[in-house]
Amino acid sequence: MLPDARTLRVVQRRRPGRWLATILVLALLALVIRAFALGQIEWSVVGEYMTAPVILAGLVNTLVMTVCAMALGLALGVLAAVMSMSPNPVMVGVAKFYIWFFRGTPLLLQLLLWFNLALIFPRLGIPGLFEARTVDVITPFVATWLGLGINQGAYTAEVVRSGILSVDRGQAEAAQAVGMTRIQAMFRIVLPQALRVIVPPVGNEVVSMVKLTSVASVIQFSEILRNAQTIYYANARVIELLIVAAAWYLAAVTVLSLFQAMLERRLARGVSTAGRPA
C-alpha cells in the first residue's frame, strides 16, 4: 500500500561540491587581495593622482575623442553602407575598397600614417583658396580623430549594412507607396528600424573606442594613458598611475554601458511592447 503523500516532506540534497567550490574561490580571492595589499603599491599615491589635473585633462581628451571618432565612424559607416547597397557599381566598388583597406590594415599603422601625412604631402589645401603646412593641420588630435574615425567607419559600415538588410523590404515599399522618395524611405522608415539591430554592436564599439584612444598615445595624443605615462616617467610610480588610468577607463565604460542599456530600451518601442495593453 502507498503511504499518504500529504505527510511526506522534501529534503534538499546535500551538495558538498558546491561548498567546496565556494571555499576554494573565496580563498583564491583572499590570496589575490592580500598579495595586492602587501605588494609594492602606494595606495595613497593612487588616491592622490586620481583627481590630478593632468589625469582629468586626459580623461576629458579620451571622452571627447571617443565622441568625435564615433561620430565620424557612424557617418562614414552609414555612408559606406548605403553606397555598398546602391545600384551604381562605382559606388559599390568605392565602398567595398574603403571597407577592405581600413579593415585590412592595423589601426596603429593607420594612426602612424595620418600622423606622418606631412611626409607625403608637405602642404594641404585647395590651390588658390587656402593652403597650409600639413604639420600645422595634422595635430595629434586631428591625426587621432582621422585614424580612429575612418577605421571605425569601415567596421560600422558592415554593422549598418546588416541592420538595413534586417528590415523587411515591404517597409520601404510601404513608404514609397505613400509617396516617399527612396532616400526619405531609407532615413525615415528603414534606418530607424535598423537601429535596433545596429545599436548593440555599435555600443560595444563605443566601449572599445574608449580604450582604443590609448593606442593614440604613440602619436602624442594626450589621453589618459599617455598622461599617466608622462607622470610616471617623472616620479617612477608606474603601477600606481596605471591603476589610476585603469580606474578611469572602467568608470567611463560603466557609465557608457548604462547609457547603452537605456537607448536599447527606447529603441525597442513597438517591438517588445506586444503584450502590454494599448
Partner: protein, 253 residues
C-alpha cells in the same frame, strides 16, 4: 478616357515571365477585382500600376499622365525618383502583409504620409488621421503599436494610411490573404464601404464572394495574361473560358 490605362505591359523576373502583353482599363469610380491562381501575375500588374515594379515593356497612364516615364517621340525616358514618388501619391496601396511601420503607432502610421510627404501642418494631419481611423473603426486604437493589433486591425490601419494621401485610385494587393479566417470579414466590410463611397479600386483577391458582391468588373488572369474579363455576374456566373471555369470550380468547391 479611362482613369487607369494599362497598355501592353510585360515584365519578367529572370527567366520567369510574370506578365505578357497585358492591357486593362479602369474607369473612374469603378471597382475592378483581379482574380487568378497564385503566380498568374495579378500582384505584379498591380505593382506596375504605381511603378513599384518597373515594367520591361508597355506603360501605364493615370488620367492621361504617363506613370514613371517621360515620353520623347517613341522613347520612354525614366523619371527621376522624386518625380515618380510624387506620382505614387495619387495611388493608395494596401499590402498583403500590411507593412505597417512597427516603430510608429497606428496614428503615426496614418499621419506619416500627409506630414512628411504632403507637408500638411501637424494638427491638420492628426485630425485627418483620427477621422480616418474612426472611419475604419479603430478610433480607440490610435496610440497602439502595430504589434499590439490583430491582423485585421493592422490591415484596417493600412487602409487608413493609404487613404490619408487622398489617392485617386486604391490598389489592394491580396488584402485578406494573410489574415485568420475570422478576421477577413472586418477588412472586407471596410473595403465594401469604400467601394460604395465611389473611389476607384483595383483589388487583387482570392475572395470570390467579395468580387461577386462588390466588383463592377472582374478580370481573370492566368500565366501572366488576361484570360477573361467582364461584369462580375458574367465572369463568375457564366465564365466563357474553360480556364476560368476550372479555377472557379476549384476555389468554390
Amino acid at each position: 478616357m479611362p482613369m487607369v490605362a494599362v497598355r501592353h505591359l510585360s515584365k519578367s523576373f529572370g527567366a520567369v515571365k510574370a506578365l505578357t502583353d497585358v492591357s486593362l482599363d479602369v474607369a473612374k469610380g469603378e471597382v475592378v477585382c483581379l482574380l487568378g491562381p497564385s503566380g498568374s501575375g495579378k500582384s505584379t500588374l498591380l505593382r506596375c500600376v504605381n511603378h513599384l515594379e518597373k515594367p520591361d515593356a508597355g506603360a501605364v497612364w493615370l488620367n492621361g499622365e504617363l506613370i514613371g516615364y517621360r515620353r520623347e517621340g517613341d522613347r520612354l525616358l525614366e523619371l527621376p525618383d522624386p518625380q515618380v514618388a510624387r506620382q505614387r501619391r495619387r495611388f493608395g496601396m494596401v499590402f498583403q502583409r500590411f507593412n505597417l511601420w512597427p516603430h510608429r503607432t497606428a496614428l503615426q502610421n496614418v499621419m506619416e504620409g500627409p506630414l512628411r510627404v504632403g507637408r500638411r501642418p501637424a494638427r491638420e494631419a492628426r485630425e485627418r488621421a483620427e477621422a480616418l481611423l474612426a472611419r475604419v473603426g479603430l478610433a480607440d486604437k490610435a496610440d497602439a503599436w502595430p504589434a499590439q493589433l490583430s491582423g485585421g486591425q493592422q490591415q484596417r490601419v493600412g487602409i487608413a494610411r493609404a487613404l490619408a494621401m487622398e489617392p485617386e485610385v486604391m490598389l489592394f494587393d491580396e488584402p485578406t490573404s494573410a489574415l485568420d479566417p475570422e478576421l477577413v470579414g472586418e477588412v472586407l466590410a471596410v473595403m465594401r464601404d469604400l467601394a460604395r463611397s465611389g473611389i476607384t479600386m483595383m483589388v487583387v483577391t482570392h475572395e470570390v464572394g467579395f468580387a461577386r458582391e462588390v466588383a463592377d468588373r472582374v478580370v481573370f488572369m492566368d500565366a501572366g495574361t488576361v484570360v477573361e474579363e467582364g461584369p462580375a455576374a458574367q465572369v463568375l456566373g457564366q465564365p466563357r473560358q474553360a480556364r476560368t471555369r476550372a479555377f472557379l470550380s476549384a476555389v468554390l468547391a
